[in-house]
């Protein structure tokens, strides 16, 4: 793994010394165990801060639309798909962007660890194994156990768009898109699903970390902040939280790249991903479309065809 880190640092140093980019957006060691934090490197000598491992969970594409000038971004598979969608939607200028692609094994979901060991005191990552010393107890996890839900169903670990590739490629078992989690939820009754989402949404405190962590939520004025018309009150009533989450998910339908950054960003562990996954399944099954695969493509809802399915029509 550290040969990848060396290569990233070398590439970043090269880019900065040649003046090809003004800033390299990457990851550095966070202040808490097992958490990386985004970092903005502007001078060649700072590039030694850059790291790369399974804790690099933020989607750095979220910063690409906010950072001015020429920027290099370290992109995992899902990050690169987000950059592709942003390019399709003319939010980024391609030659302002230098994409340092890194194939990704999947990121760790810390909440899974803390559910068992309590707050993490110390942790060490060795190939395939993570040993954790926690407030409640100590435990050794296999990496597969801790992989974030989005990463377990990920079919694009290798970046789909990049200017340079660091490290090897990851062989993807070409299994068809599996939406087992969505089908499992679909098989529940209406009442069960209604109760599940009501309980999830009752936890939401409307801090908008999910919206701000999402690279594809870049509207100047989000419908949440609009006051004419006033879509939402300031309340945190579970029905209104569902209004916010459903509204946001419908705006992401056919665009969401399933990076899981929204669920990981949520301080209240709301299962935001369940709604986005449902949309991804429908878009895949109905329109055979996956978002952010190639820059020439476009969002699922920007296209149409004469024989799109009409299952939604009212039965007469």
């Amino acid at each position: 793994m550290n040969s990848i880190i060396e290569d990233i640092r070398a590439t970043a140093r090269q880019l900065l010394t040649d003046g090809k980019v003004d800033v390299v957006i990457g990851y550095e060691k966070g202040s808490l165990p097992l958490s990386a934090t985004p970092c903005f490197v502007r001078s060649p000598q700072d590039t030694d801060k850059l790291i790369w491992d399974e804790t690099c969970e933020n989607n750095l594409a979220a910063f690409s639309t906010l950072t001015q000038g020429k920027k290099a971004i370290i992109a995992k598979g899902c990050d690169s798909r987000a950059l592709v969608v942003l390019l399709q939607e003319n939010q980024l200028v391609r030659d302002d962007l230098y994409i340092i692609g890194v194939s990704c094994q999947g990121v760790i979901n810390k909440k899974k660890i803390e559910a068992e060991t309590g707050e993490i005191l110390e942790a060490s990552i060795n190939p395939g194994k993570i040993t954790v010393k926690g407030m409640e107890c100590d435990k050794e996890f296999t990496f597969a156990e801790l992989k974030d839900a989005s990463c377990q169903t990920c079919r694009y670990p290798n970046p789909v768009l990049e200017d340079i590739h660091i490290g090897g490629l990851i062989e993807v078992a070409q299994q068809a898109a599996v939406f087992a989690d969505v089908t499992e939820m679909e098989n529940k009754t209406d009442a069960e699903r209604q109760a599940y989402f009501k309980e999830q949404m009752s936890k939401c405190i409307r801090c908008y970390a999910c919206r701000n962590a999402c690279p594809l939520c870049y509207c100047k004025e989000c419908f949440v902040d609009c006051n004419s018309p006033k879509w939402l009150t300031g309340g945190v009533d579970s029905a209104e939280n569902l209004f916010f989450q459903a509204g946001r998910v419908l705006h992401l339908a056919g665009r969401c790249v399933e990076c899981g950054a929204c669920s990981r960003a949520c301080p209240q562990d709301v299962d935001i991903r369940a709604l986005n996954r449902k949309m991804s399944k429908d878009v895949f099954n109905m329109y055979h479309h996956e978002s952010g695969i190639s820059v020439e493509g476009s969002g699922a809802l920007n296209e149409y065809s004469a024989d799109d399915p009409e299952a939604f029509l009212v039965k007469e």
């Binding site: 989402f197 949309m279 429908d282 009212v314």
Partner: protein, 150 residues
């Protein structure tokens, strides 16, 4: 209509596209085709103009049902309006079902300007289904009445 147990009269928000469904509703009126007076019509230029937030907002403010109706695919006044809407409606319908909204609360249909009779049928059908489901049980309805209509 006995007044003691006032039968549940659903309030249905109907988003009708100006060129077809609104004209269809007009034709139903002109042709004296009876249909329940439960719909509150909102005219939109095209079914493609319908923003998913309209439906969520209608239910948040207490609408018991929502009907969305536009031109048949192919004869949209703006050529591709209802094609774009079709994909949107498919995803809205699927998501609403996914979060547990009862089947039949939100209905979508294509009604052309000439189908006055069919418009009346559609409204009757929607009204029956929503009446059967009963009042809006709050999947989106904000409990403490905190609506935001001006």
């Amino acid at each position: 209509m006995n007044t003691e147990t006032k039968a549940f009269e659903p309030k249905i928000a109907a988003f009708l596209c100006n060129w077809c469904s609104y004209a269809g509703a007009d034709l139903a009126g002109v042709g004296r085709f009876q249909y329940p007076a439960t719909i509150r019509t909102i005219r939109v230029p095209c079914s493609g103009r319908i923003n998913p937030l309209y439906l969520l907002k209608a239910m948040a403010n207490g609408a018991d049902g929502v009907l969305v109706s536009g031109c048949h695919p192919g004869d949209c006044h703006y050529m591709s309006g209802n094609y774009v809407a079709r994909r949107k409606f498919a995803l809205i319908d699927s998501l609403l079902k996914h979060v547990g909204l009862e089947e039949g609360r939100v209905s979508f249909s294509w009604v052309s300007a000439a189908e006055g009779v069919r418009f009346a049928e559609v409204v009757k059908g929607v009204t029956e289904r929503v009446t059967a489901l009963g009042p809006n049980k709050g999947v989106f309805k904000v409990e403490d009445g905190g609506g935001t209509n001006e």
